[in-house]
Amino acid sequence: VTCSGSTLYTTNGLTQNGVFYVKSTHKVQAIPDGTSNTVFASEILVVPDSTSANDLRGRYCNSWYGNNNFTTFNPPNTTSPDLVGYQGVSTVAAPSTTVATSSPAGLFARSRHANGVNALMGDGSVRFVSNSINVLVWQAMGTRDGGETVSE
């Protein structure tokens, strides 16, 4: 899914600091950090639907707030649960928790790789980002104007 920035989804999600969020109008030419330093998308993990509950993470249709994008608030494959507002389905690999109605929500980058996730940068390159990346760098990578340059 696409990256909304480094913050959680609050109120109406209109003011996030990434490129992809509710009613975002940012143009690729106008990303202050540069496209090669800004995450556009990443893998996330979802749980297969069961008869009793649907995992709404990553859905674009018939979804719920905070489920359309991910945030670099927490590092890749964090054990800290995704914060979902409705019908969470949690597993060890893809932990989630149901938050109070209208509380901050957000998904974090996750994958089936042991040590990181593949992140699509704005210039079209794909980087493998380690779980142990400095959280402050990862958060800056999620923003369109964090002022960071990424070096490994």
Partner: protein
Amino acid sequence: MFVGLVTMVFVAVGCSDARMHEVEGTVTLDGKDLREGDIVFTPEDTKLGPDAGKIKDGKYKFKAKPGKMKVQILATREVPGKKGPMGTEPLLEDIIADEYNAKTTLTADVGPGKTKFDFQLKKK
């Protein structure tokens, strides 16, 4: 170059599972076991990400990095007889006070021999 090498070694050690500690303990709310919830340890060192686990029947157990942590405990319940903004889904409310999550005052110092942490919470 030397500095870079030292940093790399430090990072490699920092993320290896060997240094993770299995932390465990109990969580009560007004003296009763917290039936279901989440517990998150966030290092005071903001370069490091959080570690978290599920609380089930008042108990938790998960692997955490060593160091000084802010501890957050999350749990919600469906408000009986009320519906959320769409009118069909349950309205959910926090049952844990802000001082234990959003503005937490709970801490833990994780290290060798320091892995048991019990939290007695009071209703908001």
